[in-house]
Symmetry: none
Subunit: 145 residues, 2 copies
DNA sequence: GAATGATTCGTCCTAAAGTATGAATGCTTT
DNA sequence: AAAGCATTCATACTTTAGGACGAATCATTC
């Protein structure tokens, strides 16, 4: 980017010098002012388009990720290393399934308080701030499917 | 596109006329030629960048990240069928990456309000009640990696 | 028996997420 | 010109999530 600006500045300086020379040698100003402006305008419009295409950053980043065709096996080792309890793992799976705390509570027949307690434990053990982050980490560790 | 070219042409004509007038009234040419060229150059560079951004098709950067077994390809058809916009897709990906609305807002340089608007659109189009559910559905549809 | 950890539940509080509504801008298409 | 869509932002409100306590029960372990 810096190089682009540099080249741009140098080109401008060079053009000015060129015109200065032409002005003295061939009385450039005798040319119609419309032509004069037109040439400069065209020149810098092109330069502008070029500079713009250089400076404008690409818009879409399509990330292609690999998908395992191999059957998913819950990594028991990973579960142990995190220290997640059975119940926490259960809650985590339901979280990843898109359920709210209330829905999870209803499914496993406990109160929302309990689900929250488990959630807090999950976030602590997976070092996550939010459930979405916890789900992501759990999938990376192959703790959940 | 035609309008763009038309506006561009008219602007150029207007500028030439303006300079003509100035030339007669205030002896514009007495000004240093460097300044003169500089102004026109700057003006048309800006115009060029603007015109370029309009006329040149947006850059699309596709980053391919590894394909171990089954190559994952974002299902363009599925994206279209959901009717998700470019921005919504972007927000969705960041959601799936575990970011909060505030963090997403900071990353794509918009306000939290805007992120929430996109989120609402996502939930509607993916028929989801929560972000975790939206992420799940998006993965099922292979809209995100 | 005491300590430990898992599970359960509660309250209080703050932060984040989500809903609803309105509105401005700019681009595209008809 | 007009209608539609995408993008942006705001305000106000409700709901959900999360943090920070404490505390009870039960089984296992030391």
């Amino acid at each position: 980017m810096k190089k682009t600006i540099l080249i741009y500045g140098l080109s401008l300086a060079a053009l000015i010098m060129l015109l200065k020379v032409l002005q003295y040698k061939y009385m450039l100003m005798d040319l119609s002012i419309e032509v004069y402006i037109g040439v400069i305008a065209a020149l810098f419009t092109i330069t502008g388009v070029w500079a713009g295409s250089k400076l404008i950053s690409p818009k879409i980043k399509t990330v292609v990720v690999e998908t395992l065709s191999t059957p998913f096996i819950i990594n028991e080792e990973a579960v142990k290393s995190t220290g997640l309890s059975q119940r926490e793992l259960e809650v985590l799976q339901l979280m990843a399934a898109g359920f709210s705390n209330q829905e999870i509570a209803d499914k496993i027949f406990v109160s929302v308080s309990t689900v929250k307690s488990h959630a807090a434990g999950i976030f602590l053990k997976l070092d996550a701030k939010r459930r979405t982050q916890a789900i992501l980490k759990a999938k990376e560790l192959k703790i959940i499917g």
